[in-house]
Symmetry: C2
Subunit: 334 residues, 2 copies
DNA sequence: TACGTTTCCGAAAACCTTTAAGTCCAACGG
DNA sequence: CCGTTGGACTTAAAGGTTTTCGGAAACGTA
């Protein structure tokens, strides 16, 4: 550990110039003779000079730092969004101050204060589900962008996955493979994500003039529920040649149970999951065709939009981000 | 968005006192009459005054901010460590600057510069595996603590899970249940984690005077490998009544294949995993007994140690953190 | 030589806060 | 009435950097 850090004043003395000249030389500005600039640069190098970002920020009013407020780091969905954002910010020479409120509104307020006190240039709020969440942006001195979980205030800027479109993608894929009787097993009905995906399924079927195979089965986001639903449907359910599952966990349970009941996937039964959670979707037998909400891209886009909002203007409202279909072996032509 | 933020000078004018008095009133210091303090506090409230952390940091030389440098956010192990650290820092009113180097040394250097330029008070480096990694702490003006992946310089401070001890825990559990012939299926031999766990197994067996059932099977950290190993062992392998798997993924594949081959877990065969990756370990049939490296605690401990290092002295060297055994249904008395 | 122009550099203010040192005044003891 | 004490407040400096503006030297032109 070095004792004291060099300041620009040390650099200036060593180079035999004034502070002002040193500053200009280091920042590549005009009005410095080439030879002088060289001397300053050499001095800075020798002293391992690093400009003090605090002083710089104090003067300029810009910290080149953004706050990232997440309500739930534990969850699986926040991380990819965070990674995408970190990626975009890193490329823009921005630093990210990370705060996890753990779903606690008090802690969120506390973190918000801390971030503002540190004079962040902007804020990204990452929700824990796609359900709208309370806005924090009332009377804030910096721009805010919501990612994954939208703000409940339509005047804010939010980026969310287009779950209706994602479900439509899945259904259109199944229809193109010749499947006609599609069942739906999904998570709890009080999740926006579950309702949106069911809605997408319904819309796609309706526009193809087909009925859904049985009612939508609402349950939990677990493998266990997927197995249970499979047993129910396959022993006493309606006829169906495909099932659209609301998550990869459900789909993994479903294919496992179907397999044990002697149904061949995809021959007898095509299965589509949701989330493209690789560790699960790629390890089931057969590997799952699934909808990928592309959360990393969502995070990156949100970050880029925050840049725009910081030095210019933002387009408010909820932006729906398209999903991708990842085709693996759990679906095939009949 | 407000136009301009109130400074302490605005608060002072509004309260009709000098800046110094305002500062003292706001910071709860002596030499301020109670009534004056009230006036200042009211003024601060009215203007929504937030002290500028930059100015404060510039003066005090402390930013109450630490850098968290991770080589691999994508991986499963960095996140819990990060959460633990974030937890400890949040409690200490510290903020966390997050940087992900994505395993790239250049990017790591770049982030390091950025963090130092922002005058962080300390640094936590989170590795992507338990293998030693190059030290970054040579001639750094701030203390550094390594978490999960230790530094290759013994003079640094590192916190790593005690994989040897974790494996011992698992084996002792199996022995206590009356199992005597224990096989071992694990990941690649070029992972320190795999070697440590195999070593723990060997030591525990040796001190019980028992031989290992067959050679250690080295493979990958995947479910697929677990299945494959199970098929090999159960069709043409040695006699065994328990298997210690190097990861929950391997164990999940193993129990699945064993089940399909008609072996009952835990009756015929006890299975222990490693990592306590809940989504997997709790969803297999039966749920997995597994070793929990308690990474969140590891992160928290590392953070607390960084505090100590920041304002005092640190005890260098590699600190091994004990693991916990989580007992579920995949193990039982014979 | 006198004067205007260009080139390069330095002095000083500004950003916001904390704190050491100094000022003022009332109360109090003698 | 004077000196002392101590409470309540203010002044000013410090922290590191950027930037504006003014100044000096060198050079060209009349």
């Amino acid at each position: 550990m070095a004792v004291r850090r060099a300041t620009i004043s040390d650099v200036a003395s060593l180079a035999g110039v004034s502070i002002a000249t040193a500053s200009k030389a280091l920042n590549g500005r005009q009005d410095v003779r080439a030879s002088t600039r060289q001397r300053v640069l050499a001095a800075a190098e020798e002293l391992a000079f690093q400009p003090n970002a605090l002083a710089r920020g104090l003067l300029s009013g810009q910290t080149r730092t953004v706050g990232l407020l997440t309500s739930d780091l534990e969850g699986r969905f926040g991380i990819p969004v965070l990674m995408g954002a970190e990626d975009a910010f890193g490329a823009g020479e921005m630093a990210v101050l990370l705060c996890d409120a753990r779903g606690d509104a008090i802690r969120e307020q506390h973190h918000l204060r801390a971030l503002l006190s540190r004079r962040v240039d902007g804020l990204i709020v990452v929700g824990e589900s796609t359900d709208p969440r309370p806005s924090v942006s009332k009377d804030l001195p910096v721009p805010v962008v919501y990612a994954y979980g939208p703000s409940d205030d339509p005047a804010d800027v939010s980026f969310v996955p287009d779950d209706v479109g994602g479900a439509t993608l899945a259904v259109q894929h199944l229809l193109a493979l010749g499947r006609r009787r599609i069942a739906h097993v999904t998570g709890p009905a009080d999740y926006r994500a579950a309702r949106d995906r069911a809605e997408g399924l319904g819309a796609a079927l309706a526009s193809a003039g087909l009925p859904q195979a049985g009612e939508t089965l609402w349950g939990t986001w677990s493998q266990r529920w997927g197995r249970h639903a499979a047993e129910m449907l396959l022993t006493a359910g309606p006829e169906f040649d495909a099932v659209f599952c609301g998550s990869d966990q459900i789909a993994a349970g479903f294919v496992e149970a179907a397999r044990e009941l002697g149904r061949r996937v995809p021959d007898d039964l095509a299965v589509v999951g949701y989330d493209n959670w690789e560790v699960l979707a790629a390890e089931t037998r057969p590997p799952l065709t699934t909808v990928d909400p592309d959360l990393e891209r969502l995070g990156r886009t949100a970050a880029q939009h925050l840049f725009a909002a910081i030095d210019g203007k933002a387009t408010p409202g909820v932006h729906k981000m398209a999903c991708r279909l990842v085709i693996r072996d759990s679906t095939a032509r009949m």
